[in-house]
């Protein structure tokens, strides 16, 4: 089993450091955000499996030639307090250390995931209570214009903003718009914003980001956990943009972005703003909206799918057959 532990350790190291660094700025994410999202999810799962699996497989290697067998033997000998048999197996303290490390790391990751999930649920419930008390449903002409909005709520505040609050079911999900946004946008632009937020809700983006949020909280000292979290958040925005573009015009979406992102005080130019304008647009998401790149070719998408499947399959197969 030791060679397999080594392979898992190498996989864990590769997925933990170089891969996120390369992937978080890979150009293809602009062309097919779905493909990049799939790859990130596969990396998170495969990385978690291999980083926990490697020390456990190594630690159990003296006990048998496959993981299930070694687990059973280790448990049996420990419970029976068969010290003679244990001594014969030549268990090095390193093995015990690795075993503890693997179990602790796995426990830490799972507990952080659970804690993050609970925290998110609590915060969301509290936020929803406030939304219910403080907002009024969107009504009238604007509601008709932004057809298909079942639950857009208006908050009385002058800052232009829009966000969504995911619920367990889509009926419990809410899109919240501020009065400031409502006043600054044309109905068509407003409809594009609402379509963007609805795409977040319909595609359940909050579930896609959850594991990365937990990863980041569990291993904040590993710089690449931050890359993963930011990259996945950015991808959800691109996916939501694509969802909005399926029904609304690019101009409406861009205009609504310009209004809701910038400060209201347009007359005060900021230091560092450039008369050329164009050169300042650096955000990948904006660039992608302004100059839409061609989607990935079928072959490239198939390749990404294959890589994701291999990433998920490899550590699983290694663990089961080790």
């Amino acid at each position: 089993m030791e060679p397999i532990a080594l392979v898992l350790a190498v996989l864990a190291a590769v997925l933990a450091v170089p891969v996120p660094i390369l992937l978080h700025e890979a150009r293809f994410r602009l062309r097919s955000p779905w493909a990049a999202m799939l790859l990130w999810q596969a990396i998170a799962l495969a990385g978690g499996l291999s980083i926990v699996g490697a020390p456990i497989v190594y630690g159990l290697s003296p006990f048998g030639s496959s993981l299930p067998e070694a687990l059973l033997t280790a448990a049996r000998l420990t419970l029976m307090e068969d010290y003679a048999a244990l001594a014969e197996l030549e268990v090095h303290p390193w093995h015990l250390f690795a075993l503890c490390l693997g179990v602790l790391l796995g426990g830490h990751l799972l507990l952080t995931l659970a804690r993050t999930y609970l925290r998110v649920l609590t915060a969301r419930r509290r936020h929803r209570q406030l939304v219910e008390l403080l907002s009024t449903p969107l009504q009238g002409r604007q509601a008709e214009q932004a057809a298909g909005i079942s639950a857009a709520q208006i908050i009385e505040h002058e800052a232009p903003l829009a966000y969504c609050l995911p619920g367990r079911t889509s009926a419990r999900s809410v899109t919240v718009l501020s009065r400031g946004l409502l006043e600054q946008l044309e109905p068509a632009e407003l409809a594009a914003v609402v379509a963007h937020e609805r795409t977040h809700l319909v595609q359940r983006h909050h579930l896609l980001t959850m594991a990365f949020e937990a990863w980041y909280r569990a291993l904040p000292w590993l710089p690449t956990t931050r890359y993963g979290r930011e990259a996945v958040l950015e991808l959800t925005e691109m996916l939501a943009d694509d969802g909005a573009l399926a029904q609304h015009s690019r101009e409406d979406l861009l205009r609504s972005l310009a209004v809701s992102s910038g400060s209201a005080e347009q007359e005060s130019p900021r230091p560092g703003s450039d008369a050329e304008g164009n050169s300042l647009i650096t955000g990948a998401r904006l660039r992608r909206l302004l100059v839409p790149p061609a989607p990935l070719s079928l072959a490239a998408r198939a390749a990404v799918l294959l890589v994701s499947a291999v990433l998920l399959g490899a550590p699983t197969v290694l663990l089961l057959t080790s």
């Binding site: 925290r119 998110v120 609590t122 915060a123 969301r124 936020h127 209570q129 406030l130 939304v131 219910e132 008390l133 403080l134 908050i155 009385e156 505040h157 800052a159 903003l161 829009a162 966000y163 969504c164 609050l165 995911p166 919240v176 501020s178 914003v193 963007h196 937020e197 977040h200 983006h205 909050h206 980001t209 958040l233 950015e234 925005e237 939501a240 101009e251 861009l254 205009r255 609504s256 972005l257 310009a258 809701s260 992102s261 910038g262 400060s263 347009q266 130019p269 900021r270 560092g272 703003s273 450039d274 304008g277 164009n278 300042l280 647009i281 650096t282 955000g283 998401r285 904006l286 302004l290």
Partner: protein, 113 residues
């Protein structure tokens, strides 16, 4: 019959608008709906549990007031969204922004006819 959520809304707006401490009886009288005082008490204690209402126990009957004004609550809520509080990720709210101010200004320039 209005749902509990709706009742909470009306009781909260009454407390916010009046700006003073009210007893359950006064709340009941000032609400348009035809409600039993016990219902109002239930709603008030639910709101108290949620931390939205403060109960003053030194007087008889107990009087209730909002813990913060409507504006303060709105600001707190928006801070969660805009990321000025550490709990921001927890809300998982996605604000259409994520675009820097410079970029927005440049964008406005491109879009302006």
């Amino acid at each position: 019959m209005a749902s509990l959520g709706d009742l909470e809304r009306s009781v909260m707006s009454l407390l916010w608008d009046s700006g003073q401490r009210l007893s359950a009886n006064e709340v009941c009288e000032q609400l348009d709906e035809d409600l039993a005082v016990t219902t109002v008490l239930t709603v008030l204690s639910r709101l108290e549990k949620k931390g939205l209402v403060q109960r003053e126990r030194t007087t008889r009957p107990h009087r209730y007031a909002a813990t913060a004004s409507r504006e303060e609550h709105t600001v707190q809520m928006l801070n969660e969204v805009l990321g000025t509080v550490p709990d921001r990720e927890a809300v998982l709210a996605r604000f259409i922004g994520g675009v820097s101010e410079c970029e927005a200004a440049a964008l406005r320039k491109i879009l302006s006819p």
